[in-house]
Amino acid sequence: MSRLELRHMRKAFGGLEVLADISLRVDAGEFVSILGPSGAGKSTLFQLLTGAEHGEGEMFFDGAPLDDHGRHFAFMPQRDALMPWRRILDNTTLGLEVQGVRRKAARTRVAPLFAEFGLTGFERHFPAQLSGGMRQRAALLRTVVQERDMLLLDEPFGALDALTRAAMQRWLEQMWRHHRWTALLITHDVREAVFLSDRIYVLSARPARVVREIKVPLPRPRHPSGAEARQASLLEAEILDILLNLQPSKGHDHD
């Protein structure tokens, strides 16, 4: 039984058809990516999962229909959504506070994670005082500390420069090996998807449908070197081909 399963999800905003047909599944302890062109409807899919929007189709969590959205997912939105008025420590405890954990207990729960997330010494800083990479790590810390069944990560590294992004991808892969979160990641970045995922769903341009499901057979830990690196770049090239061949379909898109 899959942890999360979507069957034929559809969603339109008014007359704008955004999701045409999305079926996918994520198994427990699996890292799955959704790769698709900008504006395809990837973030919209997360809105359906978190209950912010409603669509047609069926969603199952551990085999049961998904109804109480708040319970299963820890959601990291596309922008880091750190609150500028809260210090980093208080930003990371936000999810726990909403769950009703007392502030002091919440702090003792997040404190040991600061080292692992490379944020030691910045507990009392405001988000504006942090670099882009640190902000993303703080947002990720706020997400994982909620200890929900599954992580939903919407382009966590999209706003970072190439070097920082590469460093963050390595760091996240390492973190994931320790914690084995069940995770669904949205990204534009083919290399990121291949580097981090067990499986990848490639979406078409809007209205989005799943055009391909790709297994990533590379061993972990993922080392970008030697024969594996060649295998990875072959996979990346294949996916890029699929994505680029999707583009002409945009020509039929009247909007």
Partner: protein
């Protein structure tokens, strides 16, 4: 770390910032002094600033005596309007249709000419504190309401989405995200309204009062004492400046993250 006390460098910076304003005001005063003394104009028409200052000192007890009711009307009126604006802004935020029902009424209330309204309100409510409070509230209520409602709406969409995904209800979202997001708008509104508040109070007194800077100005004018009118104007300007300064100070205390962000922009923040 963030400290709320001033250090000498900040003070020096403040004076450096204030210097152009001080110089231009100083030059205007000097020009006025020269013109009043040497153009042959009568002091009963245009008194020199030195004379205004001298008469202000001579009459300082009367000025102070009349400033206190004005300060009281300003502060009480402003506090009333602030509480009302806050309560209503929350209602409007939770029940959007209210906005369409109420805003046109408030917009009309803003277009009423104060000159016409002030005597009427005094006529209805007498020479006491009530009409002053009402007029101060009338001129400050709407700017504060708009500032707050706009501020709530400036909340980052992603923050709201994330909080709801965490399981927060509307009230939690309001307290955790919408209210703090509105703070910069609130203080911008506060800075504007506090200046309106003083003007509103003086207008109300002008229309009829036992005591106050407004009635003091009116009496001085009727006694052909423009020097005392100007002295009272000076007191009201000083009052406005002090209140304005207080709002700036309050904002600094209430929003320490803004200054933290400023220091980061100046390149003193951490690198990583």
């Amino acid at each position: 770390m963030v400290s709320s006390s001033f250090n000498p460098r900040q003070l020096a910076g403040f004076f450096a910032q204030a210097a152009p304003a001080v110089i231009s005001i100083g030059l205007a005063l000097v020009a006025w002094e020269l013109y009043a003394n040497y153009s042959g104009i009568k002091p009963t028409v245009l008194p020199a600033p030195s004379r205004v200052l001298e008469q202000a000192l001579v009459n300082r007890d009367a000025l102070l005596d009349n400033a206190i009711p004005t300060i009281r009307a300003t502060l009480i009126g402003f506090a009333c309007s602030l509480s009302a604006a806050f309560a209503l802004s929350m209602l409007v935020d939770f029940f959007q249709p209210l906005r369409r029902a109420l805003f046109p009424v408030f917009i009309v209330s803003q277009t009423l000419p104060l000159v016409a309204i002030a005597p009427l309100v005094v006529l209805w409510f007498g020479f006491g504190l009530t009409p002053k409070i009402m007029l101060v509230a009338l001129v400050t209520f709407f700017p504060m309401l708009v500032a707050l409602v706009q501020g709530y709406e400036a909340t980052e969409v992603e923050i709201g989405q994330m909080l709801r995904a965490m399981g927060a209800g509307r009230w939690r979202v309001f307290i955790l995200a919408r209210l703090p997001s509105a703070l910069p708008y609130f203080f911008a509104g506060l800075r504007i309204s506090i200046t309106y508040a003083v003007v509103g109070a003086i207008f109300a007194e002008y229309a009829g009062a036992a005591k106050g800077l407004g009635i003091y100005m009116l009496n001085a004018k009727n006694n052909f004492r423009p020097d005392l009118v100007l002295a009272a104007v000076g007191v009201s300007a000083a009052l406005t400046l002090v209140l304005f300064g207080l709002t700036v100070l309050l904002q600094r205390l209430a929003m320490p993250w803004e200054r933290a962000a400023g220091r980061q922009a100046a390149g003193k923040g951490p690198q990583a």
